[in-house]
Structures are given as structure tokens and as C-alpha cells.
């Protein structure tokens, strides 16, 4: 079955003003295979997907499904041709019910038979083991469930081609496994699945074939079992791998003697249960745990991002009150938020304005940074962090994800923080930039800045952090350092096998 070609895209071109986003890209999907589409940010993955789903019109090339040439002008066209997509951002309507979200836009006839749809939806939800009710309002479901509803919708549409664009980035391990079971099930039914993700392990876990793109061009198509992980990374970033290996060995992790910079006792917020935490000057520590374990909520509490409900905080031994972001900033704390689009960038403002924002807030309303000063700052950090932007006046929203992240990093670096909290700074960005950010973290620590680093990739945290705080079910369940800092130990602590109880 695997040799039957289902979808073929040939010589796809897509131009944007000033950029050739796709340049003669070929892509072939066979029946009953899971095909990973890999590449750094800006490699053209999303563009290719959007061409295939009718969000963008291609400027050249052709698409055939089961040997027949098709033209796709809208998401509707794509659906009619059996191509369904589940995007990274939930693309459902929060104000409608689960059942409506599964059937809207593809009802038969002008009338809506609510009871029918609800019954059908419940059947599908039960079959796919999705914990939701058909009559529930979608916004009352967790993000993971919303994502699954989107997949359920696609599954029910008897799609031939299912595109999963970063489907796992908001799911925890259990949910990822559920999804993979579902994917394998669909595969056996002959559905071709295009799987876009940044998680390499997941690619090797489920995919049969890998297509790699780089800078809008096709690098090649490979069978997963014939392509070692290291080589895949090399093909994606087009760099030699020695650089990748380096980082792990050269670092100097332990910083025991430095003074404690920040200390919290029983700190709690509207979203975080009370916890104790401290960090030394120049230390890099990490919060780890599954999604929903409370890791992000805890660091948000440190920064005062949610309503702080209690706790004693000391900075350099002196008691301080931090109840809002501005308090934290005045005490030398910076926070790079998890959700870059929602909590990070001011999309329509220029790179320059985005970079000076935090410093300007610290300076206050009545001491504006002059234009020339701001330009100098922007130029400096564009150079230091190697931000790829047309100019400092380009709206930050038009930059690629990795470069947006660098702009936000620049924003915080400009305030010269003593303590920087980075929540998933490497999520959804390319391997090259990930490395740059990891290096930067280590460099900052060397310069005496305390850093809290959160990442979904444990390996990345092991490489950068000297101490890992492990959370489960909104409690800190362990603190690992030194010899304990290895993948097995971390996994076990997260999973709760060998709990090292520190405090409850």
C-alpha cells in the first residue's frame, strides 16, 4: 500500500514581496504513510502547508491527488479534495459547542440537525477516546482537548491527506501518545499524514519518511530508518555537527559560592500553589515537568505576571514586594513569556520600538528614550544577537519566529537584568537559533546574571542548567543537581517513580 502515490506536489513556487519562500519544491505523499516535513523556521514548511491548504495561492507548480491535477484556491477547496489540516493554533470557534465545531462548514443541507450532530460527535469522541462532551462549549475545554476535537473533525471528514501542523506542542506526554495511537490507526486505514513538528524524537517515533526543506528549497526525501538523527539535524541546519556537540562539554556548571540573588518562601499566585525557591547569582536553573505541572505558573508568580496571593520574597537578602510585572522589573527581573505572539511581541511596532520597550517602561513615562539613542540600542542588539531583519524599522510581526524571539531577548537584555526568566525561549524556533539562545544563556550566567530556563526538551535543559526543579501536579517534587542531572533521572522524577521529596 505504501507505494501508491496519494499526493504529489511538483515544482511549487511561492513568492512574497522580496522573498522567494518556495523555490521549485517537490513533495510526494504515499497512501498509508506518516511523512514528516522538517526544516528550520523560514525553511518553507508552513508556506508549503498553506499552499496545500489553499490559504496561499502558489505562483508556480502543480498539485495532483491520486493522479488527478487539482487546483486549490481556498480551505474549502482543500477540504473538498480530501485534504484536512489541524493547525498549531486552535482554529475552532470557542463560542460554539464541540459538536458544532466538528460539523460546521460541512453540513449537508441548509438546516442544522443539532441532535443528529451531537449523537455523531459523541460517537466519534468516544471512539477516539477524547475526554469531551458534544454539547460542551468549546472554550470550556482544555487546549489539548480542543486540539483533539480539531483532529476528530478532520478524521470524520474521511480525509485522504491529514496535515498535522505542530500538533503536539501544547500536549503532554500522555496526550501525545494518544495522538500517536490515533495517527497509527489512521495510517492503517490508508490515510496519508503529513506531520510537521520540531520534536525530533517524535519524528523517529511515528514517521515512515522525512522530507527536509531548507531556505525554501528541497534538501531531500529520506526513509526515516535510513536517516540517523544527527544527519537529519545536519541537513536541516546545513551546518556541521561538531558545533552542536561542543556545547555540552565545555560548560562550567556549578556555581555554589555565589550569593543568593532571589529567594521566595511560600510564594503563591492565582494560578500557582505555594512554593519555595531561590537562585544564586550567575546560576542557571530550570523548571521542568509536564505541561500543566505548574512550571510556567510558578515562574509567572515570581515575575508577578498573575495575581500574587501570598509569600515572602527577598532579593539579595532584603525583603521586597513583587505583585506586578513592573515591581519585578524594578528589582532587576526580566521575563520572556511562553507565548511569544500573545505575551511577547507588539507585532505592528518596529524592531526598534520593541527592543526599547522594557527599558522605556523602567525609565518611566517622563523620561523618553530619544530617537537617536533608541536607534543606537536597536542597531547594537540586532548585531549582537544576529537578528535577521530588513531594517530596525521593520514591524516585528513580519520577522520569522526565531528572530522575533531574539528581539524580545534583546528587549530584556537592554534592561541589564540581574535575573532573567526564560519560559520556553526555544519553542517553535529553528535549531540554529536554539543553539544561539542556549549559548547566550550560558554567557549571561558567566557574566553573573541568574537565569531560570524552561524548555519542553529535557536534553536542552540538561545542557544549560546546573540545577533542575521538577514539578508534578502543581507541586515541586524534586530538585536535581550534579550527578543526578541525566535524562533517566529527570524522566523518573517527572513520572514519579523515584521521587526525591524535597518539600511538599
Amino acid at each position: 500500500m505504501q507505494d501508491e502515490v496519494l499526493l504529489q506536489m511538483r515544482h511549487i513556487d511561492k513568492k512574497f514581496p522580496g522573498v522567494l519562500a518556495l523555490n521549485g519544491v517537490d513533495f510526494t505523499l504515499r497512501k498509508g504513510e506518516i511523512h514528516a516535513l522538517m526544516g528550520e523556521n523560514g525553511a518553507g514548511k508552513s508556506t508549503l502547508i498553506k499552499v496545500l491548504t489553499g490559504v496561499y495561492r502558489m505562483d508556480g507548480g502543480e498539485i495532483t491527488v491520486e493522479g488527478e491535477k487539482i487546483s486549490i484556491h481556498s480551505p474549502q477547496d482543500a477540504q473538498n479534495n480530501g485534504i484536512s489540516t489541524v493547525y498549531q493554533e486552535i482554529t475552532l470557534c470557542p463560542n460554539l459547542t464541540v459538536a458544532e465545531n466538528m460539523f460546521i462548514g460541512r453540513e449537508d443541507g441548509a438546516w442544522i440537525k443539532h441532535k443528529d450532530y451531537e449523537k455523531r460527535a459523541d460517537e466519534i469522541l468516544t471512539r477516539l477516546n477524547i475526554p469531551a462532551r458534544s454539547t460542551q462549549q468549546l472554550e470550556n475545554c482544555s487546549l489539548a482537548v480542543q486540539q483533539m476535537v480539531a483532529i476528530a473533525r478532520a478524521v470524520d471528514m474521511k480525509c485522504k491527506v491529514l496535515i498535522l501542523d505542530e500538533p503536539t506542542s501544547s500536549l503532554d506526554d500522555k496526550e501525545v501518545n494518544m495522538l500517536f495511537t490515533l495517527m497509527k490507526d489512521l495510517k492503517s486505514q490508508g490515510v496519508g499524514i503529513i506531520f510537521v513538528t520540531h520534536f525530533l524524537e517524535q519524528v523517529y517515533e511515528v514517521s515512515d519518511r522525512i522530507t527536509v526543506l531548507r531556505n525554501g528549497e528541497l534538501v531531500g526525501e529520506y526513509l526515516t530508518e535510513e536517516l540517523p538523527q544527527v544527519e537529519l539535524v545536519a541537513k536541516m541546519i546545513g551546518k556541521e555537527l561538531d558545533e552542536l556537540m561542543d556545547l555540552g562539554e565545555t560548560e562550567e556548571k556549578e556555581k555554589k559560592e555565589a550569593e543568593v540573588f532571589y529567594e521566595a518562601k511560600a510564594l503563591s499566585s492565582s494560578d500557582a500553589l505555594p512554593f519555595d525557591f531561590s537562585i544564586r547569582k550567575g546560576e542557571v536553573n530550570g523548571f521542568t515537568g509536564l505541561l500543566g505541572s505548574g512550571r510556567s505558573e510558578s515562574v509567572r508568580a515570581i515575575f508577578g505576571a498573575d495575581k500574587v496571593t501570598g509569600g515572602d520574597v527577598k532579593i539579595k537578602g532584603k525583603p521586597v514586594k513583587i505583585t506586578s510585572p513592573i515591581d519585578a522589573m524594578k528589582n532587576g527581573i526580566g521575563y520572556l513569556a511562553e507565548d511569544r505572539k500573545r505575551d511577547g511581541i507588539i507585532a505592528e511596532l518596529s524592531v526598534r520600538e520593541n527592543i526599547i520597550l522594557a527599558l522605556q517602561v523602567l525609565n518611566g513615562m517622563f523620561k523618553p528614550i530619544s530617537r537617536s539613542e533608541a536607534e543606537a540600542f536597536a542597531d547594537e542588539y540586532i548585531k549582537v544577537l544576529n537578528i535577521k531583519t530588513a531594517s530596525r524599522e521593520t514591524p516585528v510581526g513580519s520577522l520569522s519566529g526565531g528572530n522575533q524571539q531574539k528581539v524580545i531577548l534583546a528587549r530584556w537584555l537592554l534592561t541589564h537584568p540581574d535575573y532573567l526568566i526564560l519560559d520556553e525561549p526555544t519553542r517553535g524556533i529553528d535549531v540554529g537559533t536554539k543553539l544561539e539562545i542556549q549559548k547566550l544563556v550560558l554567557k549571561l550566567a558567566e557574566d553573573g546574571v541568574s537565569v531560570t530556563f524552561i524548555s519542553s526538551e529535557v536534553e536542552e535543559m540538561l545542557r544549560t542548567c546546573s540545577r533542575l526543579i521538577v514539578m508534578r501536579d502543581r507541586h515541586i517534587v524534586g530538585e536535581l543537581k550534579g550527578a543526578d542531572l541525566n535524562q533517566t533521572k529527570v524522566m523518573k522524577t517527572i513520572a514519579g517513580g523515584e521521587t526525591e521529596n524535597v518539600e511538599k
Partner: protein, 343 residues
């Protein structure tokens, strides 16, 4: 976080249902209080019928506005279009036109506004506030161009149509002088109620209606879900336009005359009715039954003010403002609380 989906469980009220229930409860509470404290007219069914008779056209435009607002749009031309329709139909009838022609004219004008405004907003992507503001200016201007002076309808057929009243003896009462007066309802009220029912069914059971909710809930998602966002939005303005046309005709049946200042400020009353009825300007939340009760609530408070002996002109608008303030704050508090809980 995870809930069992096997056991049957009643869903909590949706935002739409909650806001609507509050309004309906407040309306009945207020009305019953008025019956107890103020008595007088409030004890007779005719009071309700009067409210309906006077506000039939407001109810109709509010329905259209609710549809547009659910789709996250706004249409402030509705009052002016109503006024233009009244003036046009009056002149047409007085110029020797017939009833059918005048009805078609009313619908035609409404449709024309819907078409043009809907096209500009949906397909040229111009901000709805600006487009319908221009529509409002245009309709008001055209009304005065047609005639600055008030015009009375002098047309036998129309007079006959106007005089058709539905009388319900069971709800009548005996006046102090001994005459029995049945409760009277104008034809316009029937039209208004039909509009409410029609829009209710459209919003709840028709594909297009759910489309309005979808584009109001999240436009980008709606597009991805395969809804033709542009066409759906376009149709919401068409519906609003046609309802404005109907509203104009009903208005004319009620007053029997055209005046350049007809339906002045109706757009704001319609917006207020929709809001009181639980429609959110941000879109995706709302219900036409709520809007219907919103209109009644708005009217009742005015009646109560007048019956309380506060006859000075400023009292009505100050109490209306106060009540709006109350409802708007109530909505805000209720929704914020729910959102906080959800988190």
C-alpha cells in the same frame, strides 16, 4: 481537567443563555413591580400591547442589528434607512402608487442598502462603522432631499390596511364609563413577531445562522473550518438591510406619515436593546429572543418613568442612561467572573 464523557450531565448555561435569562428575569421583575407599585395602566394587558405597537419597528431593526453584531459587525444606518423608507413610501403612495408596489419599494430600499454596505464591508474590507455611518448620512440626507416637510399618507388602500387591528376580547377591560375596550394589536406587531421568530430559527437551526456565530467567535477559525466568511458577513448586512426596509413600512403603518426626523436615534436604541438582551459587540454571543426582551425592558423603564410623574423631558434619557449603565456593568461583571472561574 479531564471529564468523563459517558455520564449524562446538563451543560452549564452558555454566555448567550445566561445574559438573556438575566434580562428576561429583570424585565418580568420590573414589570411586576410596576404593577404592584404604580398600578394604573400596568394592570391592563393593553399596556403591553401599546408597548409593542409603539415599538414594532424598533424590534425589527434590533433583530437585524443583533444578526450583524453576532457576526462581530455593526450597522448604525438602520434608523436612517427606516426613515428613508417611510418618506419614500409615503411619497410613492401619495403619488398614486399601490400597496404591493410600496411594500416592494420598502424591501428594495432596504435590500439596496444591505447590498452596498455589505459589499463594501465584506469584499472591500472597509470598517463597518465607517460604511454604515456613511449609509446613515446618505439615508438621512436623501430623506430631507425627498421632502423637508412632514407628509401624511393619503391613500385609501393604505388607510384600510392601517386600520386592521387584531382585537383580543379576553384581554380587554371595562373603562370607567362602562364601555368595554378589547386589547388592540396593530398589524405591525404581527410582522415584528414574525421577524423575531424567523431570525430565531435562522440563528439556531440554519447553517447560515451558525455561520454568523462562527465568524463572530473567531473569523480566522471560521475561514479554516470552511465557512465562506465574506459571503456570510455580506449576508448579515443584507438581512439587516431588508429588516430596516420592513421596519420602515411598519413605522409608516404606525404613524401614517413621513417626517424627516422619523426614527431619530433609533440606531442607538436598537444597539441598546441588543446589548440589554445580551448581545456582545465583540461578536459570537447573542440571541434574538434576548433582543426582543431588551426592547421591552427599554420601553418599560421609559413607561415607568412617565407613570411615576417624572414628566420633565430629561428624566427619560437620564433613566435610560442609568439603566444602560446598570446592564452594561452587570454583563461585564458576570462575564468577567465566568472567565476568571474558567481559568
Amino acid at each position: 481537567m479531564m471529564k468523563n464523557n459517558n455520564g449524562f450531565k446538563r451543560e452549564p448555561l452558555t454566555d448567550t443563555q445566561l445574559l438573556m435569562s438575566i434580562t428576561i428575569a429583570i424585565f418580568f421583575g420590573m414589570y411586576i413591580l410596576a404593577m404592584i407599585i404604580l398600578q394604573g395602566g400596568f394592570l391592563h394587558a393593553q399596556q403591553v400591547f401599546d408597548m409593542l405597537n409603539d415599538n414594532a419597528s424598533l424590534i425589527i431593526v434590533s433583530c437585524g442589528l443583533t444578526v450583524v453584531m453576532i457576526g462581530a459587525g455593526i450597522d448604525i444606518s438602520v434608523g436612517a434607512v427606516t426613515s428613508l423608507v417611510v418618506m419614500s413610501c409615503v411619497l410613492y403612495l401619495n403619488g398614486g402608487g399601490n400597496i404591493v408596489g410600496s411594500i416592494l419599494l420598502a424591501l428594495g430600499i432596504g435590500l439596496a442598502f444591505g447590498l452596498v454596505q455589505g459589499f463594501l464591508i465584506s469584499y472591500l474590507d472597509i470598517q463597518p462603522f465607517i460604511v454604515t455611518l456613511a449609509g446613515m448620512f446618505f439615508a438621512r440626507g436623501m430623506t430631507t432631499i425627498l421632502s423637508v416637510n412632514p407628509q401624511k399618507v393619503e391613500h385609501d388602500g393604505f388607510a384600510a390596511l392601517r386600520s386592521v387591528k387584531i382585537e383580543i376580547n379576553a384581554l380587554g377591560y371595562t373603562a370607567p364609563n362602562g364601555n368595554f375596550i378589547p386589547a388592540r394589536m396593530e398589524l405591525g406587531v404581527v410582522v415584528a413577531l414574525l421577524c423575531v421568530v424567523f431570525i430565531f430559527i435562522l440563528l439556531k437551526y440554519v447553517r447560515l445562522g451558525r455561520g454568523f456565530y462562527a465568524i463572530g467567535g473567531n473569523q480566522q477559525s471560521a475561514l479554516m473550518l470552511g465557512i465562506n466568511v465574506k459571503r456570510t458577513r455580506f449576508l448579515s448586512y443584507i438581512i439587516s438591510g431588508i429588516l430596516s426596509g420592513i421596519s420602515g413600512y411598519v413605522f409608516m403603518m404606525h404613524t401614517g406619515a413621513g417626517n424627516a426626523t422619523n426614527a431619530a436615534g433609533m440606531e442607538m436604541n436598537a444597539i441598546a436593546s441588543s446589548i440589554i438582551g445580551g448581545t456582545l459587540l465583540t461578536g459570537g454571543v447573542g440571541n434574538v429572543i434576548g433582543t426582543f426582551f431588551g426592547t421591552l425592558t427599554l420601553t418599560t423603564i421609559k413607561k415607568i418613568v412617565v407613570s411615576s410623574g417624572l414628566n420633565q423631558p430629561w428624566w427619560q434619557s437620564i433613566t435610560t442612561g442609568g439603566m444602560l449603565c446598570f446592564f452594561i456593568l452587570l454583563q461585564s461583571v458576570v462575564l468577567n467572573k465566568r472567565n476568571a472561574k474558567k481559568k
